[in-house]
């Protein structure tokens, strides 16, 4: 069974595609998402094999979304769009499966046959569309936010609650579905601990502790731990 997620912001388009994919018993649609926020969450926690991804979506496009996913666990992506100009870009890069809406049954079958033969992720896909993160989709309470990555001073993960972000302005942390690995790869944040990333521009000073550990002070009463392995990343200061 191929675990599949369908992402499209138009409900009927999404349902229509889902029901057509479900007609093939080898495909198991395990999620339907209406936007990139939901899609990142579902992809990170449900780890699908294939994602049918609409490009033109609110706030974050399908292409922007790719740079927010961890390359190592990236599923195989099939773009679905009504906009031909994206297709040209993608085909020039020789990349990937590309379905133009309205998707004909014939064309969908070809794609699904291909997926059955090989549904391994294509590294080239993430490379074709990898870009530096600019905005990060977050939640706080029930509200969605898009935060400029330059505003982030501290990102940390907890095994139980996932990844949290702190910005210059806010005292309350945001929650995001983007992994620390993605921030490390696609932004200026530096890892200082297995569970912590820091914005180097926000560091006030670093305190070296006895046991080879350290503490980064963002201001008087906000510190970030530095583990032994990463102390070397801050030689100048230590």
């Amino acid at each position: 069974m191929i675990k599949t997620i369908v992402v499209d912001d138009e409900p009927h388009a999404r349902e229509d595609l889902t029901s057509r994919i479900r007609q093939d018993s080898e495909f198991n649609v395990i999620g339907e998402c209406a936007n990139a926020f939901e899609a990142i969450r579902d992809i990170n926690c449900k780890e699908p094999d294939v994602v049918f991804l609409d490009i033109n979506m609110p706030k974050i496009t399908g292409i922007e979304m790719l740079s927010m996913l961890d390359k190592d666990t990236l599923p195989r992506i099939v773009f679905v769009t009504a906009h031909g100009e994206y297709a040209i870009e993608a085909f020039e890069k020789n990349a990937i499966d590309f379905l133009l809406k309205p998707v004909s049954d014939q064309r969908l079958n070809i794609t699904m046959q291909r997926l059955k033969e090989n549904h391994q992720p294509q590294a080239m896909v993430s490379e074709a569309f990898s870009a530096n993160l600019k905005f990060v989709p977050c939640y706080r309470g029930s509200q969605y936010y898009l935060i400029n990555v330059k505003e982030i001073v501290h990102a940390y993960s907890s095994p139980t609650t996932g990844v949290h972000l702190l910005t210059k302005e806010s005292t309350q942390a945001y929650h995001t579905n983007i992994s620390l690995k993605v921030f490390e790869d696609n932004s200026d944040l530096i890892r200082c601990h297995r569970q912590h990333l820091v914005n180097p521009e926000a560091i006030k000073f670093i305190e070296k502790l006895d046991n080879g550990l350290g503490r980064i002070f963002l201001h008087e009463d906000y510190t970030i731990p530095v583990s032994r392995n990463y102390m070397d990343s801050f030689p100048a200061i230590s």
């Binding site: 409900p11 009927h12 029901s19 209406a34 926020f37 609110p58 009504a82």
Partner: protein, 576 residues
């Protein structure tokens, strides 16, 4: 001795003459002056002239200088009043001015101790004769249709000098009849020359003064008529140069210039004719007058003054029109003749000089108006093109989305799919039915509703719509595609970019003679809307149609809401 007396008489006479000149100048500044210079004199005009110049005669007598040799005779400027009265008022007025002046002369210079002598009688008769002769000169030029020549310096000098000589003759004859030939000769030797000089110069100067003042006045009147015409024709767009607008313009010109008739032609046909003879000069007829054809071919003003060149109507021999001024309407840029404007006078009337000048001013104005009108038309055509462009822009995207949505739901909800197809065809039928630039608000709302039904199906829970427009506004006239593109924008750049449910409110606020339609969304993404430029186009169209007070304003609270306000006049009030 002779020279001393000559100077002694001439000096005061010249002074009197200057006093008259001053008085005459003051007169040109009073409303009475119009009476003196009307080309066609009415009886009230003549009565005014009679009183004014009888006054001059009496004044001339009062101011007069007694003769050194003859106590009864006086050197005087009475002649000025009589001659002017005759020249300006005609024989009858001239006669009575002279008679009044003469009788006054007789009675004011005689009394019980100073009995009436032959000199007194002769002066009375001479003055009456002077007025009559001057009047006959007036009559002569009137008959020759050359009344303008009365104001010619040469003619006035000759006439007043001649009349002065007649005066001298009358005194001499009277002297010989009374048996005082010697006395009369001596008297005239003393006062004839100074009087001739002073009176001739006086009449000439006053006529000159009147002519100048008349010209200045004509110019002013001409200007004010031109302004009146410009003002009254201001809202006629003259781009088509057709019969309907030409008719309106010809009528206004005829009313303002008060010529007998006005015609406007293009290069082929008579477009409009108003005034005398409109029974047989019919708009639409091919040009027949050779004057008009010449004016068009030679690009020249042609004037048939009715005296040297007569205008004879080719349609009807009994046509009363006798003179015509044909002025080509020119396109200065292309150096082309667009048509002509023609001013007519009847055979029994003189073609006023002022109307000749005015005619050219009007022709200039009309030419410019036609060119400006063409520009205006082109502009409105461009606006219409914009509508078409807009319509064309809107449909393919929308059609694509609509068909995609329908194809997605047709399997699950066939009934709903059918309803959506109905909405879709309704939407396009409205597009087809819209023929002009405007539609009623009701129609526009229907259009928006059909559009929204389809978009609601596409977005489902992500799009909520509230429309609160009172029925009282349904009949207002709005430019087509005023509301729909704005609603479309609110979806395309607003609601469809939101993660949560989007809301579109269409509401209105009413004032006494205008109202505001508001399309609000809860996305607050104003920048995208501004970039699209649809709002700008609609704004421009509203301003072109209703004026710069109306149009579109956009307010935005980023992330919260965007409000597009469309300010429009109440059209039912405007019509009233």
């Amino acid at each position: 001795m002779q020279e001393a007396i000559f100077i002694e008489h001439l000096t005061p006479l010249m002074q009197h003459m200057l006093v008259f000149l001053g008085l005459a100048y003051l007169f040109t500044k009073t409303p009475v002056f119009t009476a003196l210079v009307n080309n066609t004199l009415t009886w009230p005009d003549k009565i005014v002239i009679y009183f004014v110049f009888s006054g001059f005669c009496i004044f001339g007598t009062w101011l007069s200088e007694p003769s050194v040799l003859n106590e009864d005779a006086i050197a005087n400027t009475r002649l000025i009043g009589a001659v002017l009265g005759g020249l300006l008022g005609g024989p009858v007025v001239g006669f009575f001015v002279g008679l009044t002046g003469g009788l006054h002369r007789i009675y004011s210079m005689t009394s019980s101790i100073d009995p009436v002598t032959y000199v007194d009688i002769a002066c009375g008769i001479a003055t009456t004769l002077e007025g009559l002769i001057a009047g006959l000169v007036h009559f002569y030029f009137l008959r020759k249709n050359q009344i303008e020549r009365l104001f010619s310096q040469k003619i006035v000098c000759v006439v007043s000098f001649g009349i002065g000589v007649v005066h001298v003759g009358v005194i001499l004859i009277a002297g010989s009849i009374a048996g005082d030939w010697q006395g009369a000769v001596r008297l005239e030797q003393e006062i004839a020359l100074p009087m001739l000089i002073a009176n001739t110069v006086g009449v000439a100067l006053i006529i000159y003064l009147i002519r100048e003042q008349k010209n200045a006045r004509d110019e002013l009147t001409g200007q004010s008529i031109a302004w009146q015409i410009a003002d009254k024709t201001a809202d006629i767009v003259y781009g088509h140069f057709d019969q309907v607008s030409s008719e309106k313009i010809a009528r206004i010109i005829q009313q303002e210039t008060r010529v007998a008739a006005v015609a406007i032609t293009d290069t082929q046909r008579l477009l409009a004719f108003t005034g005398q003879g409109d029974d047989h000069h019919v708009a639409g007829a091919t040009i027949s007058s050779s004057y008009t054809i010449d004016a068009i071919n030679q690009n020249q003003v042609i004037f048939a003054d009715g005296i040297h060149q007569r205008f004879q109507c080719r349609v009807d021999d009994a046509c009363k029109l006798g003179s015509v001024l044909v002025i080509p309407l020119r396109d200065k840029a292309d150096k082309k003749v667009l048509g002509t404007i023609k001013l007519y006078e009847t055979k029994d009337k003189l073609f006023k000089n002022i109307n000749r000048k005015l005619g050219e001013t009007i022709a200039n104005y009309l030419s410019n108006k036609i060119l400006a009108g063409r520009y205006e038309l082109q502009r409105s055509l461009r606006v219409q093109d914009q509508y078409r462009l807009l319509t064309a822009q809107v449909n393919p995207h929308f059609l694509y989305n609509a068909l995609a949505t329908i194809s997605h739901i047709i399997g699950k909800q066939p009934n709903r799919a059918r309803r959506l197809l109905q909405d879709l065809s309704n939407f396009f039928r409205k597009n087809l039915e819209t023929s002009g630039d405007t539609t009623s608000l009701k129609q526009e709302l229907d259009h928006v509703l059909s559009y929204l039904e389809i978009e609601k199906a596409r977005f489902e829970y992500r799009l909520q719509v509230n429309i609160e427009i009172p029925e009282s506004l349904y009949k207002q006239i709005v430019p087509v595609f005023t509301l729909q593109p704005i609603v479309e924008n609110a979806i395309k750049h607003g609601v469809s970019q939101m993660l949560g449910p989007g809301c579109i409110n269409i509401s209105s606020a009413e004032q006494s003679d205008e109202y505001t339609l508001t399309v609000a969304d809860n996305a607050g993404l104003y920048k995208s809307i501004a970039r699209d430029g649809v709002g700008l186009k609609i704004d421009e169209r509203i301003k072109i149609r209703f004026g710069s007070n109306y149009g579109i304003t956009i307010n935005c609270e980023p992330g919260q809401w965007t409000r597009v306000n469309i300010r429009l006049p109440k059209t039912d009030k405007e019509i009233r």
